[in-house]
Point group: C2
Chain length 472, copies 2
């Protein structure tokens, strides 16, 4: 039904859809033998109807289905687990690559699930529009993946998290098609869109997403500030968030991340900058990147407000170069990982979010847990998403790789970090649950929450073919 | 377990918790005989633990439970239906009246479910805080009810809908306590808070709600504008919403509502005002109420932006009196209904929301449906909640009461309006589903959506004691 050329059974095609991009995935893929699960076939439907038809066949033959978009999961979300099924396919959605419709008056665009970040922006730019969703996975990840994982982009303070952008969602399920979202807001019972978003392929295959879009911004202005230490920095970001003065991008690095950034010379003259900051009382700087996007009028107006508040918080302006340097390098991180791996370095990230009164303790606890587990390590942290009630914390960890057991080394560290997170924050702010975070989910949403998710799954997927072994 | 004095079986107590406040409820209550279901008893637990204990007993004895807060439902949400149960109680939460905790740093306050609107503001004012949730039911409705129904207040453009304020929720369920919400945002699977919010007592009894709060605003500034007709008015509101220039309160009346407001002399000198507007080209005015709340600096800044955009949209400023007059009279509507009923008038409201490209058609269709069903009627409409992608529409209908069959008269009109809404908008923007909207839910969320809700309910309420006959 999808055409023979769209069913791939060769080893390279199957291997390419067997894992995501976590450190554990990279380590696994470097081993001489394939000791991780690989899908039995890759199926590439062309449109939502073909997705539904493939699901119907998989129900009939009791075949597991792993929806596959950009393959950028860092939590095992696309692992080819088969659960109790004897066969499993990777359902690659890359051919669902269309901009379906644009409602300029309502500022809504419907995009198919397989559209990648840059292509979404290119398609929308043809209408003078932007989505503004720019996570670090932007270059490869897809619209369907953003929705399935509750993604949050680097400009989430301005454009919102992905779930804030979704007005509607269309899914294929083993029980048939399912469409949600008829109004910007509703009191017609629970918001089931928020059940579909974050369902990670377990409640259906997302085939189309209706998204709130905005005019492409004529002006983008990025710049850097330095705050005297983490506490002052976090206070300054909280002040912005609680006074509606956040820039569209607001990203605060802690002292360790700032030092690494200075050591790598992030587009600024480091020694001169250190002297400049020291003269203004900032001896252990925390860099803050702020960026605004919009019309010249709006950017000027909002920038003035942010600047006014930052000044009152003791921030020292570093200038445009720092902001632009961050903006141009912001997708480099994932690309550098293979090089670091070649150098014998274990490099990975993890993230959480908490209410403001827990943020400092959570950062301390996660750092302590990682240090205890790894010994000597560089642990960097930043806030990249701020809310009135709290903020995200994003950790980057570098340590010498344990060549005898590289996977175990990281698994122990990650488990220690997850234990530290439970009770103080969420197990994931924007990476999702997948396989890696599943053991911690019931601590967060309760055993009853897990049962509710399982009940919802049974209703739409009674034989359990959808993404076996993920989420719950 | 709650004390004998907190179990009421006298007729007045039971009757007082037998209905909400819809027109149909008022009509029913005026009949000489009680021909609507009444709970067998009213139970008033003191705290979340007692709520849980009462539920446990009701599970054991298979007794239906209707959670009862302010009793302001206008969709039959608190009707004492017993479904397949032989007994049903009204679980009145009014004794859960405490401010549990305040986290000033995170701007979060935990309130018990039975706290009414004014009391919530009074409790928070003691900490210099406000919730800012002011629906028309404010004076009687409760925190738990706001959450259970996905309420939206008149200042929703500034403070957000109630679900935007909720950071956490605690429920008592037949399967035990359930607590949700550990961070401002999360990618740890679907957002189950958004399943609990809007569940209308069918998935558990909400006992506590953690809410994002804000500093009590030192300045409140309300004023009025007039737009030349509905289309120009809706365009002006859309322009504000899509340029982040909405006032905290933004409420646009159509020509009919404006004429009634002028006829009732809404605090302004009517004839002089008509001349003033006509001289500026506004012959069929639509009033727009805009209100800002915050610091003097913020109100001035935001007011300037709103005014700038409104001027460009052709709005004529009417002044402070109109805004203040609306603000002071805004809870009067529900209170006037009994007087109108005494005068032989059928008066009721209904509401929906749609994407901008559907707003005009939806308004026309609902008006046409109501007119066809009722004959001669005054039908007024306003937008009271605006979003980037769409807006709410709120209709007030007045017509001569059919004394032979007042309930049937309205039921037929309401059914016609609901049919007109289905396909273009949501069956409810902020009144919820209850009994009255239940027949239209599956058209909106799909038969599969209804099954998912039923499955979730079975997981937490396997014997179906919670609010029988509501929502699904």
């Amino acid at each position: 039904m999808v055409g023979a050329e769209n069913v791939l059974v060769d080893a390279p095609a199957r291997l390419a859809r067997a894992t995501g991009l976590s450190y554990l995935d990279l380590v696994r893929r470097r081993r001489p033998t394939v000791d991780f699960p690989v899908p039995d076939a890759v199926v590439l439907p062309a449109d939502p109807d073909e997705v539904q038809a493939v699901l119907d066949v998989c129900v009939r033959h009791d075949v597991g289905v792993v929806p596959f978009g950009g393959g950028t999961s860092v939590v095992g979300g696309v692992a080819a687990l088969r659960g109790e099924k004897t066969s499993v396919i990777a359902l690659d959605l890359v051919r669902l690559d269309a901009l379906v419709s644009v409602d300029a008056e309502s500022r809504i665009a419907v995009l198919q699930a397989g559209v990648r970040g840059p292509e979404a922006e290119r398609l929308l730019a043809g209408h003078g529009l932007t989505l503004g969703h720019v996570p670090q996975s932007f270059e490869r990840a897809t619209i369907g993946g953003f929705a399935a994982t509750r993604s949050a982009g680097q400009a989430s303070s301005g454009y919102g998290r992905f779930e804030d952008m979704v007005t509607g969602v269309r899914l294929a399920t083993p029980r048939g098609p399912w469409k949600l979202g008829v109004a910007p807001a509703s009191a017609a019972g629970p918001d089931l869109r928020q059940l579909a978003i974050g369902s990670e392929g377990t409640l259906g295959v997302i085939t189309e997403v209706a998204l709130r879009v905005r005019p492409a911004p004529p002006v983008r202005r990025y710049e850097g500030y330095a705050l005297p230490g983490w506490t002052a920095g976090a206070e300054a970001v909280r002040d912005l968030a609680q006074h509606h003065a956040l820039a569209d991008v607001t990203r605060l690095s802690d002292v360790d991340e700032t030092e690494v950034s200075l050591a790598l010379n992030a587009g600024v003259k480091t020694a001169a900058l250190r002297r400049y900051l020291a003269a203004r009382g900032v001896r252990r700087p925390c860099f803050l990147i702020v960026g605004w996007e919009g019309t010249a009028h709006d950017v000027a107006l909002r920038r003035r407000e942010t600047a006014r508040r930052l000044k009152a918080s003791g921030a020292v302006r570093v200038g445009k170069a720092l902001g632009e340097s961050w903006r141009h390098g912001r997708f480099a991180g994932p690309r550098q990982r293979d090089t670091l791996l070649d150098m014998g370095i274990c490099v990975e990230t993890l993230e959480t979010a908490a209410y403001w009164s827990n943020v400092d303790e959570l950062r301390d606890d996660v750092r302590a847990a990682l240090t205890a587990a790894l010994g000597k390590a560089i642990i960097m942290c930043h806030i990249s998403h701020a809310y009135e009630t709290g903020a995200s914390l994003y950790f980057t960890v570098l340590t010498a790789r344990d060549e005898a057991d590289p996977a175990g080394q990281w698994q122990r560290a990650k488990a220690a970090a997850c234990e530290a997170i439970a009770g103080l924050g969420t197990i994931s702010h924007h990476h999702a649950v997948g396989v890696d975070h599943a053991p911690y989910l019931s601590a967060e949403i309760g055993a009853l929450g897990v049962e509710v998710l399982r009940a919802a799954k049974s209703a739409v997927d009674p034989t359990g073919i959808l993404n076996p072994g993920k989420l719950v």
